[in-house]
Subunit: 504 residues, 2 copies
């Protein structure tokens, strides 16, 4: 390093919109990813891990948040001037991979992928710029059989990770129906597909915001535009009242059962070939799901689901948690969407020029974890820490270390206290902080007699809350003296009792 | 989207220096990470997952490859003009996290972390710009007990993932010894620590390249400089012959056993307090390792190990695989280093101003996987694919789908053929491509009789290689007709036979 003045101290902070995950949070996410991967694998999907970095051109411009700089991605120029970017989802990299390796991959190609994705968006409460997705996609399968399979698998995933039937609903729609509606409304001409593309984009994002903005808000965005609470104005699609009514009727087409919804959708799309095809596909999907034993308690045909991403071309679906949680301000609210997906037949075509049908699901793992935590289904009890071997005599470190090594060799989580051993109280405080179940202690007196003290910290804590006199304290059974040679067996015995008979 | 001309097709390519990992590669890495995490956890370390993105100032300038743009990292400016960057290792983020949360974290803080890191380096064969690291560190433990524990754990990790004792060697050194040598050579003045910092950086990196450049190359870099084969000149540290000899003597100080090496080091560092302290620490580490049962077959004191990173302050260590592999050009070569680490007492101080002792290890998971593959210890047999339910009659998709669903419900990996079912041969080719053990077939004739055909593709392939006549072929047992209701039981039976009695 060059001889320079010392720079000012850097600030120790997580970058804006990012966060760190500690201990149990990491383990809980890993357990969820493992459980989801098991289902994906059982359904015949193979893992794929692409790099976090893609060329910007490979990613395409598909993020709904198009008004942000760099189109919502983190991007930079490589040494050769080429723009690189962090992936914003796992679907765009899959399309790139399939186009790149299509001659070597099986068709259909069924792959799953899990990992972080990055969005250059304005961070907000519970809204981060890095989060996990866990996807499964089938590339090269043209019929809705593939879409129905993905929806059935999505239900199984949700139940496997701890969302019981009744606490979620998979809502299904079809973009072709929406395209039929756009035709009827006069903003899609099959012979000139690029015309009104801008307006259709606004309509799509407006419908996608129904939950947040309500009917009036969406209506405004279909027309001239909408001013939000902060006074910011968002330009609308500029539809006439009549055009807007057609779109609003579509969004409200859901009826008491699937058959009635399908009938209503047929009315709305009228003579549109695309629209009718979409309705027929919706009907087939419902049949296939019924044949697999899925009924109204797990899925519903819901025309208000459109998904914000521009690339969907057929069935779209979204899994919503139906229970209420309490938000930061103590108000009850619906938890909302935790997974979504659909058919995107043109993403590979971007690269190859040839249409390649594809469909898939993306699960928002971090949102799902938040939901389970909000319901108290994970994270209730703090995980057990390691057995702590304390240090009474710093000249005998090697002996204490041997105790920890013996415990570990027996499969027991254990550690030697590595801080300054001078103050023994600090060692026990550390054990407490680490949620250690046991502390192992050997002073010179114990050593001479060939024994160790094993302190049961769980029992000790319980007794400390109950014991009132000194006599009781001395008689308390939370500390045992055992021969040094029996250390491992004694510790294992206590841990098995704590586990209710299980292993360490 | 605005009405624009269609852009030219993007190229489907992995960005330069990055790669994609498919199927087994992903599963093998996951298995290794899980195995390492189990050891780290058993030793009392807790997981931490920081974001991939850090502020550039938090990362600091510690990469050895300082001549590259952006100091070897991928960096960009955020909306608020702040520079962000992808982490280049897992140690810098740990220092940031500890500084940020030090009041809430236990001391010592023992954490493990695993995940990709990114280096903006020139890619080469087997050298990628994204790769996995798997680290364990203890922050707040001042004595070499912590370093010795990390070294012992490193040995256990290597053996757990499949590198037997004798196939690896942990080489241990101490930066304080090197600093003592620098004092003796006159390029470190304890009273003026910043003086000659630039020269010491060159010396450090030169020693670190001993394996690649040989003694003559290092000698050149200690003096005026070195011209490589391409003609590029690297400026040297400018040491006199006498100064350089001291450094060279240090590098060559390894003797037949640890005691002799320590004696030789004492000679070289002479009166340097720091140097003698380093030798004493080395000695203590060796004693602690011996007390844990580690001997000369697992670790060696080796003064030529210095580690390239500038931040180490005490013990440094490196795990080297000692077996030979065959390189791309068919030549035998040593595999080399797969893990390294050491003590870095000043990294947290950068943020807080207060010294916080810390030590840790980083395992190069991708290199370790490459080593195991090169030795044929993983990746030999392709993993088994899913049972394939074929489609004979596309009007009965729901029935075929139900077969796949039944198999999956029984825990058997299965899938329905989702490509175009017209050409049945393509379905069997797909099964072959997927390494499917079995294909399930039901034409209309079978359906009328209430049966399915189960084709044993493993046995079929074996027989196809052996059978020579048509009569034999007809009599071959690779295809069985079973009642529809017995599908799952029959399939499970065959899979258990393939597994040698285990489950599916």
């Amino acid at each position: 390093m060059a001889k320079t003045k010392k720079p000012p101290r850097p600030k120790a902070e997580t970058p804006k919109g990012f966060r760190d995950y500690f201990g149990e949070e990491v383990l809980e996410r890993k357990a969820m990813l493992d459980a989801i991967a098991e289902v994906y694998h059982r359904y015949g999907f193979d893992p794929l891990e692409t790099s976090a970095v893609e060329t910007l051109e490979a990613l395409g411009k598909y993020l709904p948040d198009v008004d942000r700089p760099n189109e919502g991605v983190f991007a930079w120029q490589d040494d050769d001037e080429k723009w690189l970017a962090l992936r914003y989802d796992l679907t765009a990299p899959l399309a790139r991979v399939y186009a790149q390796y299509r001659n070597e991959l099986p068709t259909p190609y069924r792959r799953y992928a899990m990992g972080p994705v990055w969005r250059n968006e304005k961070p907000g409460p519970g809204r981060f710029r890095q989060f996990y997705q866990c996807d499964a996609d089938t590339v090269g399968a043209p019929t809705v059989t593939a879409d129905a399979e993905i929806c059935a698998m999505l239900c199984e995933v949700l139940e496997v990770v701890g969302i019981p039937r009744g606490d979620y609903m998979v809502r299904i729609n079809n973009r072709k129906v929406l395209n039929g509606v756009m035709e009827v409304a006069g903003i899609l001409e099959p012979s000139e597909p690029e015309k009104f593309a801008h307006e259709r984009g606004i309509v799509l994002r407006a419908i996608d915001k129904l939950d947040r903005l309500g009917e009036a808000g969406v209506r405004a965005l279909l027309g001239e535009g909408r001013k939000d609470e902060s006074g910011d104005f968002t330009k609308g699609a500029g539809l006439s009242d009549e055009q807007a009514e057609t779109v609003m009727a579509f969004m409200a087409a859901r009826r008491e059962d699937g058959a009635a919804t399908l009938a209503r959708l047929r009315e709305i799309v009228g003579a549109s070939t695309t629209g009718l095809e979409g309705v027929a596909e919706l009907e087939t999907m419902a049949e296939l799901l019924h044949a697999q034993g899925l009924g109204a308690e797990r899925f519903v045909l819901d025309p208000s689901v459109v998904r914000g991403l521009g690339y969907y071309t057929g069935p779209v679906f979204e899994a919503e948690l139906t229970f209420e949680i309490t938000d930061e301000k103590g108000r009850p609210r619906q938890f909302g969407s935790v997974a979504g997906g659909g058919r995107y037949d043109d993403l590979v075509k971007r690269f190859t020029g040839q249409a390649v049908p594809a469909t898939g699901i993306s699960i928002g793992v971090d949102r799902l974890l938040a939901a389970l935590r909000a319901k108290g289904r994970i994270g209730g009890e703090a995980a057990r820490g390691p057995v702590l071997v304390t240090v009474m005599d710093r000249d005998r470190i090697a002996e204490y270390q041997a105790m920890a090594a013996e415990l570990r060799a027996a499969g027991i989580r254990a550690e030697l206290y590595l801080g300054n051993p001078k103050n023994f109280g600090n060692q026990l405080k550390y054990a407490d902080r680490r949620m250690s179940p046991l502390a192992v202690i050997q002073g010179s007196a114990e050593r001479e007699r060939g024994v160790v003290l094993v302190k049961d910290l769980v029992l000790g804590k319980k007794l400390a809350a109950e014991i009132e006199t000194n006599e009781e304290w001395k008689a308390q059974p939370a500390q045992a003296e055992v021969p040094r040679a029996e250390l491992v067996g004694h510790v294992r015995g206590i841990l098995e009792t704590l586990d209710g008979g299980g292993g360490a």
